[in-house]
């Protein structure tokens, strides 16, 4: 049985366009120019119960729009969608009791009160009996390693503690489908690892289905055997993370701090320039040519500092799409 099924799911927005400046604003008042923007363009996928799926894509790719259609916050413009046996946009109570949404950049806990108070509100709204709610809070608090923190006003908690309390609030009603939008945003390394461990345990113990978006590749590699990669509203990859890494892995990131200033053209033959500001340079270099290119860079330029690592997911995806576009145009890569 499939728990999430999307067929040709689409969403387009009508936005009004305005020229900059006062004159543009006045013209905008008199005559509005509208433009349709396709945020999600006919994507199809299905997710089985218990799967832990990563949802990747650069900013503006359509991830959040898709997530909002899946949770029922916005209406699809086209296609079919079914989540846990319901059409999400109808937001029926029976559907809402089965899902949850956690957003790393927004909180639902009451700022001035202990998290326990917010949890009681959620328990009442989800119709949990007080005894059952108390038991559930104890269980989750134990898994999340939260104790006396729950009795402290939320404003006095650290970012990591707050996120754990947010997770507790979001999972109180034992949802079977979890939508997590950047749940580790802004957390330090330790807090991030703890949240990851908890999510992995929760998925294993309860069999809940999880769809996770994150800019942190660490989250995705630690948690998601399967990833959906979306770019410009289209589904670009649906499969194992290993397969995606194979497609993306050919590059490593080389960061250099140079002693002298050089024009960008000077580095043209060394790799894809991702960033070049003054003395700082960031390049993507094919993995199989890494040592020779780095050696050549060190020989040609006076280098103060050098760092080799995995590039951010956005850059990898960018390289992938640039090479795909080039191939489509018939250029040599």
């Amino acid at each position: 049985m499939t728990i999430i099924q999307a067929r040709n799911l689409s969403k387009s927005y009508r936005i009004s366009e305005k020229q900059p400046g006062l004159a543009g604003s006045l013209r905008h008042l008199v005559r509005r120019v509208h433009r349709d923007v396709v945020a999600v363009d006919q994507i199809s996928f299905s997710i089985e119960p218990g799967e832990f799926v990563g949802f990747l894509g650069p900013n503006g790719a359509g991830k959040t729009t898709t997530l909002k259609m899946l949770t029922g916050l916005i209406h699809p413009s086209g296609g079919e969608l079914e989540v846990a046996g319901h059409q999400p946009w109808r937001r029926q109570a029976r559907f809402l009791r089965q899902i949850t949404l956690v957003m790393g950049n927004r909180q639902q806990l009451i700022w001035d009160l202990p998290a326990l108070d917010s949890l009681q509100v959620n328990a009442a709204v989800y119709g949990l009996e007080p005894v059952a709610a108390a038991r559930r809070i104890r269980e989750l608090a134990e898994m999340l390693e939260l104790g006396p923190e729950l009795q402290r006003p939320v404003r006095k908690l650290s970012l990591g503690q707050r996120m754990k309390a947010e997770l507790l609030a979001a999972l109180l009603h034992s949802p079977s489908v979890l939508f997590l939008d950047e749940p580790t945003l802004g957390l330090d390394v330790n807090a991030r690892v703890r949240v990851r461990d908890f999510l992995a345990d929760y998925n294993r113990q309860t069999g809940a289905t999880v769809l996770l978006t994150s800019h942190d590749m660490g989250d995705i590699t630690a948690l998601c055997p399967r990833v959906l990669l979306i770019h410009e509203g289209q589904l670009f990859h649906d499969g194992s993370l290993a397969l995606l890494t194979q497609r993306l892995a050919p590059c490593r990131q080389v960061r250099l701090e140079l002693a002298d200033l050089h024009p960008s053209e000077a580095f043209a033959g060394f790799g894809q320039i991702e960033e070049h500001h003054g003395h700082l340079l960031r390049l993507l270099v094919p993995r199989d040519q890494l040592t020779e290119r780095v050696a050549a860079l060190l020989e040609r330029f006076s280098v103060l500092d050098l760092e080799v690592g995995d590039p951010p997911i956005e850059d990898l995806i960018g390289v992938l799409f640039r090479s795909r576009d080039a191939a489509a145009r018939g250029d040599s890569p």
Partner: protein
């Protein structure tokens, strides 16, 4: 039945948590007390100036005008307790995107947005208003239980009208994100309700009856309480309440289809 229990329990948890949060700032109580009695004293002073020239204001006696002022203060207190803390937050929810969390709860979103918090700081105004109404109306002749009930129904109708207008303005933030000023203009206009509508020039009287229902808010319930109301006005007030509430409900259901949610 289960649904009533669900909503009752939710409301209890909403209000107990919000009262606890408000009590974190006890200084507000002092400020509110000073402001309520300052406002009342100011209005009484103005009324006294108006009555100094003659014994009636637009056909209203001193006691009648005090009942109107009392009703205005009562509405103002209830606004401070319930309407202001909830409805002014809707715009914020839309701007910051926390409306997402509200829409995903298995409870009616209009109910949540309209009742989520309660503030105790309107209570001094409500207490002072009830005292003033009781004192002034009994001096004008003790109202019969039937009149008292009718007046109560009309006060409820005026609350529903005020709530609906405010909610509609706040809900418009889904289309036009900045509507804070509009709700503030509404609240300021309602200040006109502290004096009987007939005290204003005819043109304003029309505006206060048909455009901004200031007349329904205080004058109509006061007339009922003083035994000089007409059935037509009372009926009109109840009808206006039903229409306004129905309108706010329809608009909210419609607005949700247009909600695009703040992007992250």
């Amino acid at each position: 039945m289960a649904s009533w229990r669900h909503y009752g329990r939710s409301l209890r948890s909403f209000w107990s948590t919000s009262l606890a949060a408000e009590l974190e700032y006890p200084l507000n109580a002092v400020i509110e007390l000073v402001s309520v009695f300052g406002n009342l004293a100011g209005s009484l002073f103005v009324l006294q100036l108006l009555f100094a020239g003659g014994s009636s204001l637009g056909g209203w006696s001193w006691n009648g005008a005090l009942v109107v002022l009392g009703l205005y203060t009562l509405l103002d207190g209830i606004t401070t307790c319930l309407l202001q803390p909830n409805l002014s937050r809707i715009v914020n929810h839309v701007q910051t995107g926390t409306l997402d969390y509200v829409l995903l709860k298995p409870i009616d979103s209009q109910f949540w947005l309209s009742t989520r918090t309660v503030s105790p700081w309107g209570l001094p105004a409500i207490g002072a208003a009830l005292g003033l109404i009781a004192w002034a109306s009994s001096r004008a002749g003790v109202p019969s239980p039937a009149l008292l009930l009718l007046a109560l129904a009309l006060v409820l109708a005026s609350l529903v009208i005020l709530y609906s207008l405010w909610f509609v303005l706040a809900a418009l933030s889904i289309w036009f994100v900045k509507v804070w000023n509009a709700t503030e203009v509404l609240r300021q206009t309602l200040v006109a309700g502290r004096y009987p509508v007939s005290a204003y020039p005819p043109a304003l009287r029309l505006v206060f009856t048909f455009v901004l229902p200031v007349a329904f808010l205080t004058t109509v319930p006061a007339e009922a309480l003083l035994g000089r109301g007409s059935l037509a006005w009372a009926g009109g007030s109840l009808l206006a309440a039903i229409l306004c509430f129905g309108g706010s409900r329809l608009l909210w259901l419609h607005a949700q289809r247009f909600y695009t949610s703040a992007s992250s």
